[in-house]
Symmetry: C2
Subunit: 503 residues, 2 copies
Amino acid sequence: MFDSALLEHKLDKKTFKEMEPKLRDDLLDQQFELVQQKRRTVLVLVNGPDGSGKGAVTNLIYRWLDARHVKTLAYERVNDEERRRPPLWKYWRDMPAHGEVGVVLGSWYHMALLAHAGGLIDTFAFEHALNQINRFEAMLHSEGVELLKLWLYVPPEEAARRREKARKGIDIDQSLIIEWDAVSKPKQRQKFQEIAQNLAYLTSTANAPWNVVPASDPDYRAAAIGGLLLDALKRANRPDPTVPVPSEAPSAATISTTAPAVPRVSILSSLDLTKALDKHDYDEELPKAQHRLRELVHSKAFQNLGVVCVFEGNDAAGKGGAIMRLRQALDPRRFAVHPVAAPSDEERVRPYLWRFWRNLPARGHIGIFDRSWYGRVLVERVEGFCTEADWRRAYDEINDFESELHQSDFLVVKFWLAISQDEQKRRFEEREQTTFKRFKLTPEDWRNRDKWPAYEVAITDMVDRTSTTYAPWTLVEAENKHYARVKVLKTVVSRIEQALEDR
Amino acid sequence: MFDSALLEHKLDKKTFKEMEPKLRDDLLDQQFELVQQKRRTVLVLVNGPDGSGKGAVTNLIYRWLDARHVKTLAYERVNDEERRRPPLWKYWRDMPAHGEVGVVLGSWYHMALLAHAGGLIDTFAFEHALNQINRFEAMLHSEGVELLKLWLYVPPEEAARRREKARKGIDIDQSLIIEWDAVSKPKQRQKFQEIAQNLAYLTSTANAPWNVVPASDPDYRAAAIGGLLLDALKRANRPDPTVPVPSEAPSAATISTTAPAVPRVSILSSLDLTKALDKHDYDEELPKAQHRLRELVHSKAFQNLGVVCVFEGNDAAGKGGAIMRLRQALDPRRFAVHPVAAPSDEERVRPYLWRFWRNLPARGHIGIFDRSWYGRVLVERVEGFCTEADWRRAYDEINDFESELHQSDFLVVKFWLAISQDEQKRRFEEREQTTFKRFKLTPEDWRNRDKWPAYEVAITDMVDRTSTTYAPWTLVEAENKHYARVKVLKTVVSRIEQALEDR
């Protein structure tokens, strides 16, 4: 991969001077289109050893483009807020909107590379990390982020020489040094080079290939990067980016929602909705579970655990009531409820999951999502708010998201609250009668009832495809509210107990 | 203030049970209106000694209202991100949108009270802090935030007894304890009580009065708070909140923009726009200033200083070029440029300054604002995008904002880049000619030229009223770009040098 980069690449100053004006024109034209149309975001990942000119490249991009729509995403020491969340959180936090260009210094490759080079993770773990990165990038690409991955190549000896020079005296290059390959001995350098090469091979994908740029000669480097940036902007401006067709391997998701060839058995049919709890038992069991939850949350071990609770369910199934009983048990400084509403314009111009990442609790806290990222495979699928390709790829993306949470010591507890159609009708009618409940009911709620069968298919697919070992669904028989609330509380308690034991 | 609260306040359970359903109906009705109309935000500040039931009150609000539109703002230990910014930053970060109800535990009174009770600040400093709070709250009120300030009163002995009880065994109250008055000895308690009383007197204002709620009896407490909350929601739903009329004391701001009785002398007329720097001097002086800036930013002392640079100026005055020369000198991980564009919908439903607070750099960083909070007294004033009352109060609000930055070791450097009308015309025409500059020019730019005289008045007012000792304006003669860029660089350098010396 770096083979051709080893050859000498030079461009004489005069040639570059001649080509630059046209290049700048084209770049600005394309950026103008990007800013106007806001179709996609362009993320430029600037990677390479210190001394390869990462800082100079960043400044070049700023000089060429209209700097008002360029943003730097640069990461130094990890701070409190970052330490208490999954590693990717900081990139989500800083995600530029469509129409913007982001320059990433210290990208997600940084961590994997450092950990492996430092012997902290073995080859298998390294490959696993790279696979995750590939899926992350595929998701970004599908969600409107065009990636330009640059690897600035200079022969290791030259890079070392440059670093040495930069360390003496203050100049621009020194201020831009990113200390991620303080690899001093030639042998280590060699190993590092091999790892980097391996990384580049394993993460060059169709939609996010690596571009190795010979970076010894500044003019050559500038011209090469200008061309690559122009291509990336053009791709981002394409009116209709080719949507990757999901593989047609047999899976629950390939079953049509509208006219299944064979009627599917709904996962919900397995539930015994007659399950109930009388008032007396409820008054005894609920406070007991709440008390236990309080104990757990105040334990020392809990400070290193994050908890994400997801509440999905039929309309009027009692999500709000169940959440309220959870809330009663919890210190308001330690939890937050995030109802999912129509996306804001800031959310609309970023990848779908951004709206959830931005509300992710820190470890030691509980985040409760009243509806969630499953909206994509439920309401958006059934109502046709997203394309079929979108909801089909969503299952894997959600599993990846939850897996990342799991790996970062976040517990994901997911509930589907199920009621029968009859019970729902009864509750709707009751809401119409009760003054202070009536604004919980909208005409849309009545309309949704007509789509009950389509939702059953969607729910079954969802549970089949996203009930993982690390984040299983809990189906809650919610016909009887007492029973449902106690089951929710007890499930949260036992999942936390188990997570604290496993640690 | 607490006198009547000392009397016994009780409500029998039966009376409360009878009044509760109607209260809940009314609360939900008003909240529904709030959510629908999104006219204002309601912030409930729950204050009082530990053991007075702050947690119970919070849970009550959640139970009564539709919890999906209620948010808790609770503050524990200060984290990295908070420590590196002004004290109010965290409240801005968490500011709920219009239509939402926020419950604040650990409000801005917390710090002042603790610092004074602990002997860290004297009476004068305490009063100063309370004055700042008054102005902050007045600004919030004008900007669409309805405040409900609750002081839960229980006799000191009773509060101490309750805290003791709560500390044993796990129950809800303990989990909600906010450790801000660990005042154990009776004499200290007495002093604390006096300070609290003083605070309540000094910060009870027309639009944000304190409500002292006798909190010994839970039913009385609940009924009282229910009534106060209902009033606050009603005030927030008023279609036309009375805008406070700014005082008509003589001030630059009282001069009309359109037809001044006496022609005013523009502050800009004092500038000598013939000032220039030839290419040779520029090539020498610019790198020198950049080098010095780099040195300063990399000094250890700089890590505790935040820098905010504001760029305002005529269209085409060269703000972008000046910013670019600053950027060249700076590590991209240490600075960010924030161009001011049309507000997003998330910005539109929060106080005006929120959009700037959210981009405030941490100490050790430089934030560059390409246009800024001065938009309100420039373009919004001239174009009539805000009411006269809005821009008239903006001067004081801006001064308060910058004063707060100053007090928190942030340096505020403000530039007005001035060119003549002729030079502007020349640059516009040049932009039309040059391909890669042409998208910097919009039809609006031509239209703005017609309002040159109105802008001159607005600029003069702005400089007169917001050039403070801690955040003076620097007027930059920008007819010659070389001169302007070097002046900007040198000013930033000398302001930082001075700030580091003063420390």
